[in-house]
């Protein structure tokens, strides 16, 4: 290793933020569902995977029609992908979780693991186990730094990921804090029974939560498809595990927490890879999670747990 370089450090921050944005988008789905019904939705990673497949298909389809404007591709792909994954989110909740609403805590968890296995194999049957790949839609970027030395590279795609992530997060935050439905969501996460007594259709709110979470997972899937260009039926599991870690790191149930958790996790992985050995990046990520939970038992931005007698 040849010493510390400031420009490399900047580049690693860019790398970490990009990765973190994607984690954050997926993490929101976990955190929202947990916040409202206190359930770890293990199938969420699979929803993201479906979003990535649909995104890839939409982009391929559009290119067959000869559409080549980035904005048009992005908007149409996002719309299609959100429609499909939203439907999946809704259907899964309706069929596999709603009948279990009042069962013991572990029951929906096992059901979620079942759904996750089911969806993984279902996509494998439909699309094959092979990796599906696609050439980048948006290439190029800015370079900074000395022409003959290490140059920091910021690609348009990375900027796009950051912008889209921030836009969707801002939209979601506004929705939750300002809109009528958002208020209902918050009420449900405070006390579901009470919300129900006050005339909120909690079933509808819960379904909405699943659809919103799935929609953000679709955004992540589309961005990942455009950025990395590789999709297979198994990507959901790994990404889901990481995003879930991010959600808990930030404080599960808290939406800003999920964003923060995603970014912290992305940065931690990048730095571990840069300044330690790459094979230890996941060890660092999980060790960080454990340490944070030991210091702050409810995550970085989590509400303190109130003991109810």
């Amino acid at each position: 290793m040849s010493g510390f370089s400031f420009l490399e450090f900047v580049q690693q921050i860019i790398n970490g933020l990009t990765l973190g944005s994607i984690y954050a988008l997926i993490a929101i789905g976990y955190t929202m569902v947990y916040g409202i019904i206190g359930m770890i939705n293990f199938a969420h990673g699979e929803i993201y995977m479906i979003g990535a497949y649909v995104g890839l298909m939409a982009i391929t389809g559009l290119s067959l029609f000869g559409v080549d404007s980035i904005a048009a591709i992005l908007l149409v792909t996002l719309a299609i992908s959100i429609l499909v994954t939203g439907s999946y989110g809704w259907t899964v909740e309706r069929l596999a979780y709603r009948p279990l609403r009042n069962s013991p805590r572990l029951v929906p968890l096992i059901s979620a693991i079942g759904v996750s296995i089911f969806l993984q194999n279902y996509v494998q049957i439909g699309q094959g186990a092979r990796d599906v790949s696609m050439q980048p839609v948006l290439t190029g970027g800015w370079r900074f730094g000395p022409a003959d030395g290490f140059q920091v590279y910021l690609s348009y795609m990375q900027v796009l990921i950051a912008v889209v992530t921030v836009a969707f997060m801002a939209g979601l935050t506004l929705f939750i804090s300002r809109s009528r439905l958002g208020r209902a969501c918050r009420a449900c996460s405070q006390d579901r029974t009470m919300a129900n007594l006050l005339g909120i259709d909690t079933d509808r709110v819960i379904a909405l939560t699943f659809v919103l979470g799935a929609a953000l997972a679709a955004v992540a899937g589309v961005l990942v498809g455009m950025y990395y260009g590789l999709v297979n039926p198994f990507i959901g599991f790994i990404a889901g595990l990481k995003a879930f870690t991010a959600a808990v790191l930030g404080g599960i149930g808290s939406i800003p927490g999920a964003m923060l958790g995603g970014v912290v996790l992305g940065l931690a992985e990048s730095f571990a890879s840069a300044y330690l050995q790459t094979e230890y990046k996941d060890v660092v990520a999980f060790a960080l999670l454990i340490l944070v939970l030991l210091m702050r038992p409810t995550g970085l931005l989590g509400r303190p747990d109130v003991e109810k007698v």
């Binding site: 298909m57 439907s87 029951v107 096992i110 059901s111 194999n121 808990v248």
Partner: protein
């Protein structure tokens, strides 16, 4: 009528949206070219089917109800009867004995492959029973159980390979090391509540797997550790030829060599370990410690106010639970002969958890049956290849709807008051 029609149309549209991207279109990658294949038939069939089903939902339901009544009544009464017998302590005992008898006679009557699959099932029974202590009795959700399993497996593999220690010596060491791991993990993390504990154990499980993969000098990295000896029966080996001058089982008893002996022996060994596990846990449950676990699960605050120390109780549950995973791990290493980190992934932890929940949390008999079902069912369906796991996932979901309390719900070991109390009245 229009309402049903709208409903049916919506359902059909939803089905189309769900199915088109997965089954209606298929991305074909050929070299650098990407194309979309269209295969509309399955989607059209599904959409039409859903539409019709939704449209004629009412009449179909009525038809189903009128047709089903006698059958369902019989089925319900049968399950109810089964449930009642299962609840009855005598009947439970009889069921246990029956299971045991079948388990002992079984390996001599069936093929080698079947015995081997059952050996695998026994490993899961052990794991399920072990995890049941911490999840079912103490009510602590642990998502990284495979870590303890791995510690046990690697302990035996490493000691056998490096120092040539025998299985029988390594078994307690493996259990002890796993228990120690559980204890050390438990010390700091058990003060976390509920799902946070689950996540920390998940993280711990992943770290363990990654370390097994990364610490090449100790664990062999991704190659794992090979050449793990099979256990011997009082010094008698089960190979074709004995290593360094020992005697082999078939020579000692004057039998022809058959690979089946080793397989059956492994099965019986596994069965013995399972019985020991069952016995120990059953005894523990009748002790104050076991009662304390369950009390803690029901109400931690009440426990504390009764003077029970929750940390000690939780720690004891996790440590014991880890120890059983360690035994199972050592046995797994012996069955496998070669282990690598692939066998200790998160899915493994999730499967064991599924066994506990499917069986009925806190129910020993249920866990045993669920473990057997979960290992044997996918084996039976091996020909169906990819549909096998699809069905497996589906069954997990359906089981949770059908019997959220598990196959055989838990019942406490009964404590009757001594006779004297009756007399004093």
């Amino acid at each position: 009528m229009p309402r049903t029609l709208i409903d049916a149309l919506l359902a059909a549209v939803l089905t189309a949206v769900l199915l088109i991207p997965i089954f209606g279109l298929r991305i074909q990658v050929d070299g650098v070219n990407v194309a979309l294949d269209r295969t509309p038939t399955p989607v059209v069939i599904a959409v039409v089917a859903v539409f019709l089903l939704r449209l004629f939902k009412r009449p179909l339901q009525r038809l189903w109800a009128s047709w089903k009544v006698p059958g369902s009544w019989r089925a319900n009464s049968a399950t109810a009867a089964l449930r009642q017998t299962a609840q009855h302590p005598r009947a439970r005992q009889a069921l246990w004995l029956l299971l045991l008898a079948v388990a002992v006679i079984w390996p001599f009557t069936v093929s080698r492959g079947a015995v081997d699959v059952m050996t695998l099932a026994l490993i899961y029974v052990m794991l399920g029973l072990g995890l049941n202590i911490v999840v079912g009795f103490a009510g602590l959700l642990v998502l990284g159980y495979a870590a303890f399993y791995a510690v046990g497996a690697y302990a035996y593999a490493y000691l056998a390979q490096q120092f040539g220690l025998s299985f029988w010596l390594c078994l307690p060491i493996a259990g002890g090391l796993a228990a120690l791991t559980g204890f050390l993990l438990g010390l700091p993390v058990l003060r976390l509540r509920g799902d946070y504990l689950a996540i920390v154990t998940l993280g711990f499980g992943e770290i363990t797997r990654l370390l097994l993969n990364n610490l090449n000098f100790l664990t062999g990295g991704p190659d794992g550790i090979g050449g793990i000896p099979r256990p011997s029966l009082f010094g008698l080996e089960f190979g074709r030829r004995a290593k360094d001058g020992g005697a082999t089982f078939h020579e000692f008893f004057g039998l022809d060599y058959s690979g089946d002996h080793a397989v059956i022996f492994m099965y019986l060994l596994g069965l013995a370990l399972v019985l020991a596990t069952l016995f120990v846990i059953d005894r523990l449950l009748r002790m104050p410690l076991g009662r304390a676990w369950e009390a803690l699960r029901e109400d931690e605050i009440a426990c504390r106010s009764l003077g029970l120390n929750p940390t000690v109780i939780k720690l004891s549950a996790l440590t014991l639970s880890a120890a059983f995973a360690g035994f199972a791990g050592a046995f797994f290493a012996a069955r496998q002969g070669h282990i690598n980190p692939e066998s200790f992934t998160f899915i493994e932890s999730a499967m064991v958890l599924a066994i506990v929940v499917l069986g009925g949390m806190g129910s020993q008999l249920g866990v045993v049956l669920a473990a057997i079902a979960i290992t044997v069912l996918p084996e039976l369906a091996r020909e169906f290849n990819e549909y096998r796991m699809l069905a497996f996932g589906l069954v997990m979901v359906l089981m949770m709807m059908w019997r959220p309390q598990g196959l055989i719900p838990a019942s406490r070991p009964p404590l009757t008051l001594p006779e004297r109390a009756e007399a004093a009245r």
